[in-house]
């Protein structure tokens, strides 16, 4: 089994306040912590579990800055074999199709059985890079995968649908799977493992190294124009009910009845 796992370095926006820069198109990221995208972390674990079970190799591919190397080293420490980081300012990375084209360009020379990536990125939430990548490399795909069974030349993917429904699909390999969180329990990458993983190959490439035409993956090629980012106005709809408990209960009941809620 040869698996390629695509991962993304994303900010954690759950703690620090999110502020839009004056340009209206970028976010002030000076106070965020960064880490591997949640769903991608599960994809890494799944790829390593498959390797441990079936043998083979796992390659990591990521588009991101130098400081994301620590995330890549962690993936290598967990059991991935080699990594490629793509860094190039010309990539229109707000557009998942452009990102998919770059990833496809980076793996086009590789033989592979599976490509796995998270089903969604924490930062832009497009949920489309993996699917677009399948199209770009011309293979089957299954999205929102919560369980993987590797068979002979095929893979059975259990997809999580709305309402707790699971759908099972069988795909011919090679294929792309976008992995849902909760499919496994991602392991910890101990420091000694990260140190040992320093020996594993981590190559850095720009568009030119990958023979990707910048005109095909840059802003001018993209059909998506990032217009504006803004923080929605907080609409306050909370009403505090005052009074003695009985009074409160009465007022609450009348609101619920008026609103047609009971």
């Amino acid at each position: 089994m040869k698996t390629i796992v695509c991962i993304k370095y994303v900010p954690d926006t759950s703690e620090a306040e999110v502020k839009v820069n004056p340009d209206g198109k970028t976010v002030d990221n000076s106070r965020f912590s960064y880490d591997i995208n949640d769903a991608d972390n599960y994809a890494v674990e799944e790829s390593v579990l498959i390797k441990e079970d079936k043998g083979g190799e796992v390659d990591v591919v990521s588009i991101g800055p130098k400081k994301s190397d620590v995330m890549i080293r962690m993936a290598l420490a967990k059991g991935c074999d080699r990594a490629k980081r793509i860094e190039d300012e010309r990539i229109a990375d707000h557009d998942p199709l452009m990102v998919a084209k770059v990833l496809a360009g980076a793996i086009k020379s590789e033989e592979f059985d599976l490509i796995m990536t998270g089903c969604m990125a924490n930062d832009d939430g497009h949920m489309s890079t993996g699917v677009a990548l399948a199209e770009e490399v011309g293979v089957n795909h299954a999205s929102m995968v919560k369980k993987v069974e590797v068979l002979d030349g095929k893979v059975k993917a259990h997809r999580e649908l709305e309402g707790g429904l699971m759908e099972v699909v069988e795909l011919e390999l090679p294929a792309v799977l976008t992995i849902q969180t909760g499919i496994n329990e991602p392991r910890y990458a101990p420091i000694r493992g990260i140190r040992q993983a320093q020996k594993k190959e981590l190559s850095v490439a720009g568009l030119d190294d990958l023979s990707i035409d910048p005109a095909e993956v840059g802003a001018e090629a993209s059909q998506v124009v990032l217009e504006n980012l803004y923080i929605p106005e907080v609409e306050s709809a909370a009403e505090f009910i005052e009074g003695e408990p009985e009074e409160k209960a009465e007022k609450l009941a009348s609101i619920l009845v008026k609103g047609g809620l009971v």
Binding site: D12, E15, A16, S30, R31, F32, S33, Y34, D35, V70, M74, K78, E185, P186, R187, Y188, A189, P190, I191, R192, G193, R195
Partner: protein, 378 residues
Amino acid sequence: MSSESQTFTEKYDLLGCIQCGRCTGGCPVTVRADLNVRQFVNNAYDEDKLEELSRLAEIWDCTACHTCAVRCPKGLKPLEVLIGLRTIIVESGKVEPTVRDALQSVLLEGNPWEKSRAMRTDWMEGLDVKIAEPGEPVENLFFVCCTIAYDPRVQAVARNIVRLLNKAGVDFAFLPEEESCCGSEVFTIGEEGLFEMLVEDNTEYLNEFKAERIVTLSPHCFTTYKTHYPDLKNPVIHYTQLLDELLEEGKLVWKGELQKKIVFHDPCYLGKQGGIYDEPRRLLKNIPGVELLEFDRSRERSLCCEGGGGKMWVESTSTKERLADVRIRDAKELDADIVAAACPFCVLTLEDAMKNLGYEEEMRVAEIMELLGEFVEA
């Protein structure tokens, strides 16, 4: 620091053990969990058994209170055998997700609370704090502690210290946001590689500052720096020692009265491990109006609150009463109004227990600095 080639037996001096059982006899956790530390010291002698031992859930029940180490007549540290077994699990990567996230956060952001490094000094907002600069002389260099820096419940410890020292005219500075976790919990969780890295990096970082001494706010940082950082240039003290000096010099000016009965809970890392028992008591006793009580189990015999040893991230499997609950019930029996501690973990666990027991109306858990903040002019 350990060398890789040492065997488990050599590293923890297992042959020094005479199996007297004083470690297990003193271990506070035995009343609620299946932990028998003496047995681990005995069984870990067999290198082939280590894997198997490391998979026993009870190795995660140890709170690193150090009672066993204090009591061992042979000077061993039985708890470190458990930590060594935890290392086997940590290095396999198969730890609880909460532990995984805490450790990873230490590596990436310098704190176990999954907070961004850029927010480490947010607690200083609105305060007049001098930020230390490498090479610039300062008498007291403060190390804030990850928990006090980020947890709003205990940030008052740092904020009150700043106000009080400014008023007392003390020369002090706090480290900038580059300050990283001391590794106390990283050590007890058993992430040996990460701990070694922290010791190396923090030693180098802290030695750049020209301070007469480093003042820690948490006893965990205090003990960790004192015991595990052999190359640190500056002496390390706990803030209660500095305030005790100020008390002696008459630099703490009291205001108001606290007509309350206070019982002091000796934090394991301050007392049993740091040897500091009297300074916090003197500070509390000197607050006008205070009557200071004593737990039956106090000083070296103090009951652990179960906040250390990585327990902030590992749930105990035991359903028996938590030690913090026992502690609060003991305080209730003494008729104490306030349970005072000098450790952020103790405050968090004891307060939790107090709420759990429904004593919120009549009892209060407070860090000493919270009380001093209220009763010393600043």
